[in-house]
Amino acid sequence: MSDSARNRAFWDGHSDSYQETHREHIGRPEPRWGLWQLSESELRILGQVAGKDVLELGCGAAQWSILLAGLGARPVAVDNSARQLEHAREALAAAGLDFPLVHAAAERVPLPDRSFDIVFADHGANRFADPYEWVPEAARLLRSGGLLAFSGSTPFEVMCWNEPADRMDAELHLDYFGLHRIEEADGPVQFELPYGEWIRLFRANGFEIEELREIQPPPGAESTYRAAEETEWARKWPMEQIWVVRKEDA
């Protein structure tokens, strides 16, 4: 089975429990990022979205795209899981909104070249699709000057995951060189790259690197994604990061 098919099956099977577990944590009235739901109005990653064509890669129940529509964006939301998109469809109906939901893997998005001003993901397809395939897709889909921004895991989180003990610690359990495809028994296949690999991949696809925002959870930060001791770990070492890159003028 391909990684994409395997992850589709995983998310079809876990979508209901995921949406139930995190409903309140991510059911916010304003756009918020990541594990600790830090507000976009503070992080200022996407900038002005009004009037822009925005593509969300790995939208889940489309919580993000719905809020961006409310801010005047024209969103299109993609997910690899049909069950996640059913949740998205219900959420759109409840919000009285209608924008395209596309069932596709981020490695192959059935949309035309240069049709978006912003492509983004919040712990979305970037975690579950191969960067060497989805980053070129994002470059193809963006107009010149367009923004790609995505939050996800970090090499430190991946290396310090103590799988047998099922917890984070300070030990490097994996090598840094060769980091790419991370496979856990019974889990989805996830992807993370060394910093230099990300930078070369962006450059090779015509992106200028604007920022790497490494998230340190603020005092009082809470999460339904991470246990309190994991949030403590993340105060010392980056567990979440947001890459912000811009497609150069052709």
Binding site: C160, L172, Y195, R203, I209, E211, E214, K236, Q241
Partner: protein
Amino acid sequence: MSHVERNREAWTEYAPEYAEWAPRQWASGEITWGVWHVPESELRALPNVEGLDTIELGCGTAYVSSWLARRGARPVGIDITPAQLETARRMQAEFGLEFPLIEASAEEVPLPDESFDLAVSEYGASIWADPYRWIPEASRLLRPGGRLVFLVNGTVMILCSPDEELPAGSELLRPYFGLHRVEWDGTGGVEFHLGYGDWIRVLRANGFVVENLIEIQAPAEGDPHRYPGLPDREWAQRWPSEQIWVARKRS
């Protein structure tokens, strides 16, 4: 004492040892990077240097500049330690390669704006000067379109290195957030190391486009290095002990 004074003192003490190594480094026909001597022909961190005005920030015995000079560059080397510059001058005479050597800190370089095409630093100002001071200086010194190429220790290595000057193990011993000024017990010098996002921010804020980050993996074969504080080859094959940032000043 300022970090510049402390580093000058430390390097005055190290200088005799580096003077011993200098002749072999100057004689090398190949440009190599870092303690694993990975050839430039593999890493391709540098542009073609022929005809370029280059400045080496924290040149020490100036062997890097000697390599650039032999490839047709017009180098200038700066360093804060007179004893290191003395060795560099002796090597210049010995090898018949003359270029300007200036006693100065990379944080305050007494040279005009936009006078270089390439600024380079290998274990020089790149780790011994404050990036929030020397990166703006490098930007000022470069012409639009000029390159900045510098080697520093790998962030993972710094986080895994104990306070005593001992090699890194496989445990993170210091926090990543706030990484900046680093001092090792029992050594007089002050080093500076940043996290990835901070390097990108300081480069961008000073008009640089980030072109590459080459994380050096130690080759499988070769001689051991001579630095007690650096990890062995086995470690450096798993995690980065060195990394080279490549940036271009926006045109």
